[in-house]
């Protein structure tokens, strides 16, 4: 008889990793739409560029590591990384920025560490941090949201013009007319002004901030969708946002003229994206629910500290990388209490 011998269980839920990744991709759609509405076609072009280059790098790596290429390409993890990079960098950054970004993420941060599931750092954030350090000018060159540039919106609204801006180094000056600082940068480099004065005087804050709020709301929507679909749990995002909110509230309450208000902290910059799409990355995050809470608290606190006292305006990438580093340690000290045990085990074990 040709019956197959297999270990139990004999059934499994139709619940493939590619499905998880597909859900994550779907959940980034609102943010993509919001970015396109507020900042033009740039993000979409970056996204296509990132996906293509990421898949190419992934295929080459798999080939060199002698793994089945199609089987692993299908898991979609490279696409998720690519999409996150594309949506995190300025929409009109030159094309090579995103290509270097995906190269760093896929080749260095993922495959050199042994591929999917083995990378200690979040690939997208490794790429982002590297780009920010290497190309600070390109990486901070956000165009102003369309509400601030009135008629000139036409230029950014044209798909071909957007392509030209991204791919031609010669015409790069074209974008200069429209670039502006992000709210966090404005606050960072405000000179002697109080927070209140900045808010009144700088159009990015007084009028443009709603564009950023809109994008954060889009990320939030995607995140809630993923929690609803049980792709990840609420622990890390909730802990991270709460920590950031509480910390910024405390400082803001103490000295409102010097510190940014809590809504700004959670509403602009990479906070929402980081909370739902980066801090929830299971591979490089903490394992248990309690661990995830600690991880989220760490990220939230670090973001606040680096934003307020560090030299970079936004801090999500650095905060995440630092917490990635501590994740194994958190894991060892947050084992849940198993059934039938009075206490949870602590530490690594096996050291004897």
């Amino acid at each position: 008889m040709s019956l197959i011998h297999l270990s139990s269980p004999h059934v499994s839920k139709a619940n493939a990793t590619d499905r998880v990744m597909r859900l994550v991709l779907i959940a980034t759609l609102p943010a993509l739409i919001a970015l396109t509405i507020f900042f033009g076609w740039g993000s979409l072009i970056q996204l296509l560029l990132a996906c293509t280059s990421a898949l190419a790098f992934e295929a080459v790596c798999l080939r060199m590591r002698k793994r089945p290429i199609l089987f692993f390409l299908r898991d979609g993890s490279a696409l998720v990384t690519a999409v996150l990079i594309a949506l995190a960098i300025p929409p009109f950054a030159p094309w090579w920025v995103v290509v270097i970004g995906t190269f760093t993420a896929i080749v260095i941060a993922k495959h050199l560490y042994g591929g999917l599931g083995n990378n200690p750092f979040n690939p997208a954030m490794v790429a982002y941090a590297l780009l920010l350090i290497s190309f600070p000018a390109e990486m901070t060159q956000w165009n102003a949201p369309f509400v601030l540039i009135g008629d000139n919106w036409n230029v950014l609204a044209s798909f071909t013009d957007s392509l030209v801006i991204i791919f031609s180094s010669i015409n790069h000056g074209m974008i200069d007319a429209y670039t502006g600082a992000t709210p966090l940068e404005v606050l960072k480099h405000r000179g002697g002004m109080t927070t209140e004065e900045v808010w009144r005087n700088d159009p990015v804050l007084s009028q443009g901030v709603f564009a950023w709020y809109g994008i954060s709301a889009a990320w939030l929507m995607g995140g809630i969708f993923l929690i609803y679909r049980k792709v990840f749990t609420w622990h890390a995002p909730f802990a991270m946002i709460t920590t950031l909110f509480v910390l910024s509230s405390l400082f803001y309450a103490g000295d409102p003229s010097n510190f940014a208000d809590p809504f700004l902290h959670i509403g602009v910059g990479a906070t929402m994206m980081c909370a739902f799409f980066i801090a929830t990355d299971p591979v490089s995050g903490a394992t248990s629910n309690k661990g995830k809470v600690i991880f989220g608290i760490g990220v939230g606190a670090l973001i606040y500290i680096i934003r307020t006292w560090g030299s970079y305006p936004d801090a999500a990438a650095f905060a995440i990388l630092l917490m990635n580093l501590s994740a194994p340690f958190i894991d060892h000290y947050t084992q849940p209490r198993s059934y039938g045990h009075a206490r949870a085990n602590r530490g690594i074990g096996g050291g004897k």
């Binding site: 019956l3 139990s8 039938g340 009075a342």
Partner: protein
């Protein structure tokens, strides 16, 4: 009403129970050959009482328990013993094991039965012996000999008796059918169990997906006015796991490494209760059971009452199997059952279900992808473990870490593997790690035992040497005393003063000899104590004696020199 608690995790796999509940329990055909493995239970294999060629009657005991944890086996039908030896048996290893084979004669002739008229008047020991003689083992799970569990009240305080009617695995409906059709058998069985254990509370735990069984049991309990509480729990796999059901009904967790009786609880399955009823009230030993035959390769998916030892092939034929469609044959449920390659193997006491699945029904698992640490496994683990970490450690052969993460509390329920989006066969990895650790431990134990034996031998040699020494010394002393006495006698006669120089030297060397001896002996003692050997008492005594002697010799010499100066 008893409150219902909850356990961590759990899953809701498709139930697939409906298909086998359409028709009432049907009698399976009498096969030409019955194959009875000597080991159908946990513990030692039974010892055959018959020989090839013997004529046996239905219900006759053909193998008796070997030692305490073991169970008897009876002839399920009358016939002739045709073979005793190795046969394929239902076991995950797929290996063969000793069996008794009966060629049935179709007469179904019973041996003499001994029903018990009024079990309450019987001595409990007698009643337990009767149940043991009926070869009853747990019919729900692993097949632990039932009489041992029922004897627990001897050294445990049993305050809660839980009857497991949850039947949480998909596909299986054997207990469900039994409860619908024979609720009174079950309840009488429960009464007998309660009579033996004298619990203060009796709970029947049942999942809410069996409305008919719930109704049948509830009506029967009400009619007979029994002090039994029927607790309906929400359907969630694995609520029928012993530890999970206990947690659901009492919120108590059985401590790791303990048995439920340690926290005052005994669990029995409904099928076991019915078997006890038949053994006590009708005197019938355990020779048949209800088994669910299901899966889409079968024409008649329903419950059968089949004789223990009936080959699977006979049952599959009876259920109108379409072999061309059969892709996977599973004994037990889809979550924890074992896959069977050879359908000549027999039904045993613990076989509650046989699934003949088509390829669409249980497709081969897609190839495993890497673990993305998504944590879904952790969310469903009823033992609150970290399956992804366990997997990591098992794969990397970091067994000590796996154990630190409580690998041995894994009940192998398969919930983690069921939800894993990367299709990793997690349970297989855990089984592998567990068996590796067990092997390693066995090796270590062997080595430790050898070392212990070696050290004990060394200590004995040292001790013997010391004793010999002691005896020699005693003899020498006696001789010396004798000489001294003789000398004193002579002295008293001659009253010659001894040579003081020589005397002094003698005393000195005696003192130094005594010191060395003492040193040696105390070293031996120290060694022995460090290694924790026994026999140190004797060594201690020796040392004390030597100490005295050394002190005496020292004194004598001191005095002598003092007198001299």
């Amino acid at each position: 009403m008893t409150r219902i608690y909850s356990f961590h995790g759990g899953i809701h796999p498709p139930e697939n129970k409906r298909q086998s509940l359409g028709a009432p329990i049907r009698q399976a055909p009498l096969p030409a050959r019955l194959i009875l493995p000597l080991q159908q239970h946990i513990g030692k294999a039974a010892t055959p009482l018959v020989e090839v060629g013997d004529q046996v009657l239905k219900g006759q005991k053909i193998a008796e328990p070997t030692g305490h944890v073991s169970a008897a086996i009876h002839a399920p039908s009358s016939g002739i013993i045709s073979y005793i030896g190795l046969q394929p048996v239902p076991h995950a290893s797929g290996l063969e094991s000793p069996c008794i084979v009966i060629e049935t004669d179709g007469q179904e002739q019973w041996c003499e039965l001994h029903p018990i008229e009024n079990y309450r008047d019987l001595d409990k020991k007698e009643l337990l012996k009767h149940i043991r003689d009926a070869g009853i083992t747990g019919l729900g799970g692993a097949g632990f000999p039932t009489d041992i569990k029922l004897n627990l009240s001897k050294d445990h305080i049993v305050n809660t008796l839980i009857i497991n009617a949850a039947e949480c695995e998909p596909y299986i409906t054997a207990d469900d059918a039994l409860m619908r059709e024979r609720p009174n058998d079950i309840l009488t069985g429960v009464e007998i169990i309660a009579h033996l254990l004298q619990p203060s509370k009796i709970l029947i735990g049942i999942e809410d997906n069996k409305p008919n069984a719930i109704k049948a049991l509830r009506d029967a309990i009400r009619e007979r006015n029994l002090p039994i509480e029927l607790v309906v729990v929400p359907t969630r796999y694995p609520s029928g796991g012993e530890k999970q059901l206990i947690q659901l009904l009492t919120s108590i967790e059985v401590p790791s490494g303990s048995i439920p009786a340690d926290v005052g609880i005994v669990c029995q399955n409904v099928g076991t209760a019915a078997a006890i009823y038949r053994a006590v009230i009708h005197g019938e030993p355990l020779i048949s059971r209800i088994v669910t035959l299901t899966g889409f390769a079968l024409g008649h998916r329903q419950n059968y009452e089949a004789l223990i030892g009936t080959p699977f092939s006979v049952l599959l034929e009876a259920a109108d199997v379409d072999r061309s469609k059969m892709f996977r044959l599973v004994m037990g449920g889809p979550m924890m059952g074992i896959s069977i390659e050879d359908d000549r193997i027999p039904l045993i006491k613990t076989t509650n279900c046989i699934i003949a699945a088509t390829q669409e029904e249980m497709p081969p698992a897609p190839p495993a992808q890497p673990c993305i640490r998504c944590g879904m496994c952790e969310q469903v683990c009823p033992a609150t473990l970290l399956p992804q970490q366990l997997y990591w450690f098992a794969k990397g052969r970091e067994f000590e870490k796996a154990r630190h993460h409580n690998l041995f509390d894994c009940i192998e329920c398969g919930a983690c593997a069921y939800v894993c989006p990367s299709n990793i066969p997690l349970v297989q990895h855990y089984r592998f790690a567990k068996s590796e650790i067990r092997n390693e431990e066995a090796e270590q134990l062997k080595a430790a035992q050898a070392r212990e034996r070696f050290e004990a031998r060394q200590a004995r040699l040292v001790r013997e040497e010391l004793e010999k020494e002691q005896r020699r010394k005693e003899r020498a002393e006696a001789a010396a005393r004798e000489q001294a006495r003789k000398k004193a006698e002579a002295d008293s006669v001659s009253s010659d003063t001894p040579d003081p120089e020589a005397e002094l030297k003698k005393l000195k060397s005696a003192a130094s000899i005594a010191r060395t001896k003492l040193k040696k002996a105390s070293e031996a003692l120290k060694n022995a104590e460090e290694k924790g050997l026994d026999g140190t008492e004797k060594l201690k005594e020796t040392v004390a004696q030597l100490e005295e002697k050394a002190a005496a010799a020292e004194n004598a010499w001191q005095q002598a020199t003092g007198a001299e100066q």
